[in-house]
């Protein structure tokens, strides 16, 4: 039985690779084709058309980056579950993902990831307006938590971007800091290099 299960697992992995490889490859090919199309418009002096095509490509690539980052976010955090990513999310570069328990009155955590290009290439280091400076996995971060409202935020400066975590329904800041430490910051940064 164990042997059958092992074979089934290997077969499943094989099927996933076979099914999804062409999907990603098609994505890449269509974007390359669009870049080529935009280049041709540009070279023939059709600047407006070139610009529109490149904007379309930017939306596609941004969505691809968002999907990559989404795939490495924790699927759950304690009793909270990461919701399904909407199709358009991330197309403009910045993207937001929510962790909820399904009950609106309960705790929730919202993560927003913004690449530096969205921040106009300014330093990703957040402004410290009244917030507590701290360290999250070796990155500079600023914490702002209001115990009375049971809500707060933690902004982490990563290479080429910023991660903003908002949490509510928690008695203190320990959950937001703990959640931040669950994030694979090295991997997120690798998608923004």
């Amino acid at each position: 039985m164990g042997q059958v299960m092992k074979r089934f697992k290997i077969f499943s992995v094989f099927i996933v690779i076979v099914v999804f490889s062409p999907v990603f490859s098609a994505y890449a090919q269509s974007n390359e084709k669009l870049i080529e199309e935009g280049t041709n418009f540009y070279k023939s002096g059709n600047y407006y058309a070139a610009s529109k095509v490149f904007q379309e490509v930017l939306i596609e690539i941004n969505s691809l980056i968002a999907k990559n980052i989404d795939s490495i976010l924790p699927v759950t955090y304690k009793n909270l579950k990461l919701g399904k990513m909407p199709e358009e999310e991330g197309s403009q570069g910045v993207f937001t993902r929510s962790y909820t328990s399904g009950n609106e009155k309960d705790e929730q955590i919202i993560v927003t990831i913004a690449p530096a290009s969205i921040l106009n290439n300014k330093s990703a280091a957040p402004d410290d307006a009244g917030r507590k400076a701290m360290d999250v996995k070796g990155r500079k971060a600023l914490l702002d938590f209001n115990k009375e409202y049971k809500a707060g935020s933690l902004e982490i400066a990563i290479q080429n971007g910023s991660i903003y975590i908002y949490a509510e329904g928690f008695p203190d800041s320990s959950a937001i800091v703990d959640f931040a430490n669950h994030l694979e910051l090295d991997k997120i940064e690798s998608f923004l290099k």
Binding site: I35, Y42, N46, Y48, Q55, E56, L58, I65
Partner: protein, 197 residues
């Protein structure tokens, strides 16, 4: 002497309009090549960074060409303000307005403002899909437009729809819409359309 200075200035202005877009074009070409290279390597973030910068430079070229479409000041007007790349922007992005204000020398505190807005892919409103505006539908040089003029307040706007752009002509201080309409007729709409194809 004065003639020499005039000739020199004219040459300088022409040179600026020829050299500046050429420099932007060279930069944009390099950025597009880099974007292609990064995309092929799987460095998507770097690819978007290059492509985004290239797009801004390309939009700047379009904006600088569109500025030339803005009509010169007719008799009885002086140009009071002109924005070439969108207010406060070093480089233009689609959707920003290119504006020029014309101050009347005959009517006190009266002015006309012409704004060209290039539609981004997200907000493109064509002649066919344009939602009705307040005021009356009319046509300027064969293009669909909406005229809205408040005689009591002596101000109004004429909005002309092109396929990938909109032209707005604002009027203030005049007691009727005639000046605004005449201004609109002087704008080379077909040139704007050819630049935004």
């Amino acid at each position: 002497m004065a003639k020499n200075i005039k000739n020199y200035l004219a040459t300088l202005i022409i040179a600026l309009f020829v050299i500046a877009p050429a420099a932007y074009a060279q930069d944009a070409e390099k950025l597009i090549d880099d974007a292609k290279k990064y995309y092929k390597q799987g460095d998507y973030y770097k690819a978007t960074d290059c492509l985004s910068k290239a797009t801004k430079k390309i939009n700047t070229i379009t904006s600088e060409k569109l500025v030339l479409v803005l009509p010169p000041a007719p008799q009885g007007f002086t140009i009071s303000k002109s924005t070439e790349r969108g207010e406060g922007q070093e480089e233009a992005t689609l959707g920003e307005g290119i504006t020029r204000k014309y101050k009347s020398t005959d009517v006190e505190d009266a002015e006309i403002e012409v704004v060209i807005i290039t539609a981004s892919s997200m907000e493109a409103e064509t002649q066919e899909t344009a939602e009705p505006r307040e005021g009356q539908e009319t046509h300027i040089s064969g293009k669909k437009a909406w005229l809205n003029f408040n005689t009591e307040e002596q101000n109004g706007v004429l909005e002309i729809f092109l396929d990938n752009a909109r032209v707005r002509v604002y009027s203030s201080g005049f007691d009727n819409s005639n000046v605004m309409v005449e201004f609109a007729k002087r704008i080379d709409l077909s040139r704007i359309e050819s630049l935004t194809k």
